[in-house]
């Protein structure tokens, strides 16, 4: 069965792992791309080609290999910047989105021991950081820790019963005291897409910085950070067909240029003396040490792959699968969707519970049928607490999934109910 704007059968040929089987010979139905995506041969080949022909330490050596390595590395940076509509010097490479967010949080605490040039980033008692109750831990815990380090206060937006952000108290939360607002572009559980512009406009009106967790948006839809107007944004390569071990931080150039460094060491310095050091301009300032070179190049190839399919097409395809999955699951008695039940402003994460069966047990029965979903709180524990569920089952769809996968999911859920007699 084909579904929509993508030729999934052709796409699946690029992903060797999708042709393996699970447990006793069940075909793999991979519905855990929200945790990590699979990698097409094009991405693996790009890394390997680099390693077999040009591998060298970038930004350090100056022989021919290093020249070629630099070109490959910086060429990938340009592709990634273009994908999200920002300047080349506004893209910083990290190991994952978690590090990207921590980078901003630590730079802000470092600002308090830096000179007046870092004034913009200083925090102290009385200052407020705002986040939300549906964040991934990666966009919550770093801000808790930043508050602990600086004495600032953490506040947060609540969540509606269907798992969307509740912005009704935006005027109380984002005030003159608010220094930073950190929020996700799309929930990794409920799939709810945030009205980014509304929050950004409010934040800008009080001079607060904005940090967007774009982990679940950049891989799945066209995203333009410049148009969204956010100051910082974070995403991970491994969720968008790229290698593990590489993440991205977007930062508005004027901010990166004024921000103190986070991780320090080689390649991020200007002058080093025993008595003290000065730092290079961005993005180098934030890329200490030998970077994840082949991984950045692999991510560049992933961007090529996504662009060839078209982010609009990917998004439309996932939209169709989401609608189908929600419809199929809602037909099964006892199943509750965790999140919006319409597919409006909603991405391809479909979380649910089944009356009378613990999510962990559901996951086990699904796995036994080859259907690989994630169970637990998906690193969004406060959201689960808010919705009064200890855990949930989460199916996430990507460009290599099709309507057959939706059917397999629904069938496996029915099987789980049968197995546990509910």
């Amino acid at each position: 069965m084909t579904s929509t704007s993508l030729d999934v059968a052709a796409i699946r040929k690029d992903f060797p792992i999708l042709h393996r089987t699970i447990r006793d010979g069940k075909p793999l139905v991979y519905l855990d791309s929200g945790a990590t995506s699979q990698r097409p041969v094009q991405v693996m080949d790009a890394e390997r080609h680099y390693l077999e022909t040009s591998n060298a330490a970038v930004h350090r050596s100056s022989h021919q290999l290093a020249e070629e390595a630099n070109d490959a590395y910086e060429g990938a940076r340009a592709k990634i910047a273009a994908l999200v509509g920002v300047g080349i010097d506004e893209v910083v490479f990290t190991k994952n989105a978690t590090e990207s967010i921590n980078l901003v949080a630590y730079a802000m605490s470092n600002a308090s021991v830096a000179g007046p040039e870092s004034e913009r980033f200083k925090l102290g008692p009385g200052d407020v950081i705002v986040t939300t109750e549906l964040e991934h831990h990666a966009n919550l815990v770093p801000w808790q820790e930043l508050c602990r380090r600086t004495g600032a206060t953490l506040k947060w937006f609540g969540v509606t019963d269907d798992g969307r952000l509740d912005l009704s108290d935006i005027d109380e939360l984002i005030t003159e005291n608010t220094k930073l607002v950190a929020f996700t572009h799309q929930s990794n559980v409920t799939g709810a897409i945030t009205p980014v512009r509304e929050i950004v406009e409010k934040a800008q009106s009080v001079g607060a910085l904005t940090v967007l967790d774009a982990c679940q948006s950049v891989p799945h839809m066209p995203v333009d950070f410049m148009r969204l107007g956010v100051d910082f944004a974070a995403f991970s390569g491994h969720k968008m067909l790229g290698p593990s071990g590489v993440g991205v931080l977007y930062g508005r150039h004027s901010l990166l240029a004024a921000m103190p460094p986070f991780i320090t060491g080689g390649s991020m310095i200007e002058i080093v003396k025993m008595e003290g050091s000065t730092y290079a301009p961005p993005p180098a300032r934030f890329e200490a040490g030998v970077p994840m070179t082949s991984q950045v190049i692999g991510l560049g190839a992933a961007v090529d792959y996504l662009n060839a399919l078209g982010m609009e097409n990917i998004s439309a395809h996932e939209h169709a699968l989401t609608e189908a999955a929600i419809a199929a699951l809602r037909e099964i008695p006892g199943v509750s969707i965790v999140g919006p039940v319409d597919a409006v402003d909603r991405g391809a994460s479909v979380a649910f519970t089944i009356e009378g069966i613990h999510p962990h047990d559901i996951g086990q029965v699904l796995d036994d049928q080859g259907v690989e979903v994630r169970v637990g709180h998906h690193c969004a524990w406060p959201l689960h607490r808010r919705l009064n569920i200890p855990a949930s089952v989460r199916a996430t769809f990507y460009l290599y999934n099709d309507l057959d996968d939706v059917t397999a999911l629904a069938k496996a859920v029915v099987e789980a109910k049968k197995f546990f007699g509910v």
Partner: protein, 148 residues
């Protein structure tokens, strides 16, 4: 179906009708343990008489939330350790630990583990081993706190 090896009837029975559930008085120590990857939680109390390995386990009471494996394992635990000495209880804990970490290669001893042998199939699923051990780790921790 391989699933049946994991979800043996004994396990499902304990899950549906957990033994010794609830939080009771008296107790000398109460601990709260979680499985951070899935959010399963247990609050567990122990009531001991005496000290050292010869102390007697007079009560283990608990309140828990989690999957069938973690619930059933805690229920089985109470059957195994109640009215035993701490030394005996720890021996059973050791035997259960070895079974669970054995990846399905360890032959359980029914004399020692009683209903616990039903968990042999769970040991083949490394991701679920933590579920089965949640209550046991809490028990061990609680006893250690009484003693310290």
């Amino acid at each position: 179906m391989r699933l049946d090896q994991m979800y043996q009837e004994i396990i499902l029975d304990h899950y549906r009708n957990p033994h010794h559930r609830g939080l009771r008085e008296p107790f000398e120590a109460e601990v709260h343990h979680v499985n951070p990857t899935c959010g399963d939680e247990v609050t567990l109390r122990v009531h001991l008489e005496g000290a050292g390995p010869e102390a007697k386990v007079l009560d283990v009471s608990y309140d828990a939330q989690g999957c069938s494996i973690s619930q059933a394992a805690t229920s089985v635990l109470t059957d195994l350790v109640l009215n035993k000495t701490v030394g005996e209880a720890f021996e059973k804990h050791q035997a259960f630990l070895e079974l669970m970490q054995g990846r399905g290669q360890v032959e359980p001893d029914e004399d020692v583990l009683e209903d616990g042998i039903a968990f042999a199939g769970v040991a083949k699923y490394p991701a679920r081993v933590k579920c089965a051990l949640l209550g046991w780790m809490a028990f061990k921790d609680a006893v250690a706190r009484v003693e310290s």
